[in-house]
């Protein structure tokens, strides 16, 4: 399974149109029951993982044709205003495109393709850039 962004761009701003393609290379003996594609954000770090689904599409077996596996399939959505990608100390927020294949006997195959939304700086860098405030030191 391959997932790739159009033009190779994996950095988006809120309001941008996200377009990507995925292709599934099947062997003749393979059988797919369903395909789910989603654009999600997830938290990582010390806390329990939270997931937010921005875009979701499920294609059941009936909707899968031989062409589905011969040519790349497209996912497209307009990116929301939040949450932006964030790299914190005990919390990280990441965006990804997730493609999940449902196989016989309840088996699943998942592929995540990460990208970033917005531009946030680390607080360490912000701290270096800040100039001292004169009213904060007056006595």
């Amino acid at each position: 399974m391959e997932v790739g962004f159009e033009d190779g761009v994996d950095h988006f701003q809120p309001g941008d149109f996200l377009r990507c393609e995925y292709s599934v290379n099947l062997l003749p003996e393979h059988e797919i029951h369903a395909i789910e594609t989603s654009v999600i954000w997830m938290t990582e770090g010390k806390g329990d993982t939270d997931i937010g689904v921005h875009h979701f599409e499920r294609r059941p077996k009936q909707a899968l044709t031989p062409d589905t596996f011969k040519q790349p399939q497209r996912i497209s959505t307009v990116m929301p205003a939040s949450p932006l990608t964030y790299e914190g100390n005990i919390l990280k927020i990441r965006w990804c495109i997730r493609v999940r294949l449902f196989l016989p006997d309840a088996n699943q195959v998942t592929h995540d393709c990460f990208f970033s939304l917005g531009e946030t700086k680390s607080f360490a860098k912000i701290g270096e850039e800040i100039e001292p405030n004169p009213t904060a030191t007056s006595d």
């Binding site: 701003q13 770090g45 937010g52 205003a81 964030y86 919390l91 700086k121 405030n133 007056s138 006595d139």
Partner: protein, 370 residues
């Protein structure tokens, strides 16, 4: 008394504001004493009624006893209500409350805030949304002060005072101290009373009386101390030029601190915290980390007077490129302004004002295609 006075005022003579401070202390004390008097009289009446209880008798509760019960309950109710009112009105002048009430027409601003939040579901919502300000457009609402310590100590005091009063009556009766006509007329029937076990062993009751009496006095002292803590340093008001905030933009702040003490130091800080909640075994734990802190304002030696709160204005900027407020089920990014103050012989003042930081760019109407 002199030591107490020196402790609070550092030897300074009485001034107009000191007299008002004493008036406040007297009011709080009177309310507390009223409530305590109600508790004690209620305990006395109930204990004596229980001691005199005659099975199958018609007049166990006379009209006098009923009147005393009503009086006690009324004292507790009035005292409790008075203390609640003191806590509610602490430090906020009637003029300021009136000014805020007359500017309800500007409430449309707040409706606009609600609409913006619906577009940003993961941006943390304000637990206490801002109100219309008096000097600047928005007045931030501080996180509520912890009055549960006061409530807990109040309940603890009432229970201890009640137990102490009951034991005092039993001890006084057992050792024959009740020589007063009023007590003699009660003609206690010790054989039938529910405290028979303790009454027949007066030394046991006397032994309990001492530690419980001491504990009751300590709890009353702590109750009044906490009451003074909450009423002594007045309210903090923070108003801001625009809301919600976005990274890279500057804002004006108006700070007002009421009270009756002299602050050695007053600081205002902008803080960003990460909060992570996780399961550890059968426990649910939350870890909080300060990831960013910036001093916005500092001043030393501020005399707070009830008639003239300390007021100042300053500007600050939300750093460009910083993360917006965020809230999901188990994780949170919280921005807040923290006002801290230190006064001699007073607990540290700390007020938190949560900020809602939105992402720098709102959703564009026409999506940009890469």
């Amino acid at each position: 008394m002199r030591r107490w006075y020196m402790q609070f005022f550092g030897g300074r003579p009485f001034s107009g504001s000191n007299r008002r401070w004493w008036a406040g202390v007297a009011e709080a004390s009177l309310a507390g004493v009223l409530m305590l008097a109600g508790v004690i009289t209620l305990c006395v009446v109930l204990t004596l009624t229980a001691l005199n209880w005659v099975p199958d008798a018609q007049n166990n509760i006379s009209s006098l006893v009923a009147f005393q019960l009503l009086l006690s309950v009324a004292l507790i109710f009035i005292g409790g209500l008075w203390i609640s009112r003191l806590l509610w009105h602490v430090g906020v002048s009637a003029e300021r409350r009136g000014a805020i009430a007359t500017r309800k027409s500007e409430i449309e601003l707040l409706n606009e805030l609600r609409r913006q939040r619906q577009d940003l579901p993961t941006v943390a919502r304000d637990q206490f949304p801002p109100k219309v300000g008096k000097n600047l457009p928005f007045r931030l609402i501080p996180s509520p002060r912890n009055i549960w310590g006061l409530v807990t100590m109040g309940i603890f005091s009432v229970i201890l005072v009640a137990i102490g009063t009951v034991l005092s009556i039993i001890v006084a009766d057992s050792f024959g101290f009740m020589t007063n006509d009023w007590f003699q007329n009660l003609q206690l029937k010790m054989a039938d009373n529910p405290f028979d076990n303790l009454s027949n062993r007066p030394w046991l009751a006397a032994g309990w009386l001492l530690p419980i009496g001491l504990a009751a006095m300590w709890s009353i002292y702590q109750f009044f101390r906490q009451l003074l803590k909450l009423t002594g340093i007045g309210s903090t008001s923070l108003e801001i030029s625009n809301y919600p905030l976005t990274p890279g933009n500057s804002y004006q702040i108006f700070l007002s601190q009421a009270g009756r003490v002299r602050l050695k130091l007053l600081d205002v800080d902008l803080i960003c915290q990460e909060e992570a909640t996780f399961n550890q075994g059968t426990d649910i734990r939350t870890e909080v980390t300060n990831v960013f802190s910036q001093r916005l304002f500092r001043q030393r030696g501020i005399s707070l007077k009830p008639a003239k709160p300390f007021e100042t204005e300053f500007d600050f900027t939300i750093p460009s490129g910083s993360m917006h407020s965020f809230k999901s089920l188990n994780n949170r990014i919280l921005w807040k302004i923290v006002v801290t103050g230190q006064a001699k012989n007073w607990p540290r003042l700390e007020r938190n004002f949560t900020l809602s930081i939105h992402p720098p760019a709102q959703l564009e109407t026409k999506p940009k295609v890469h």
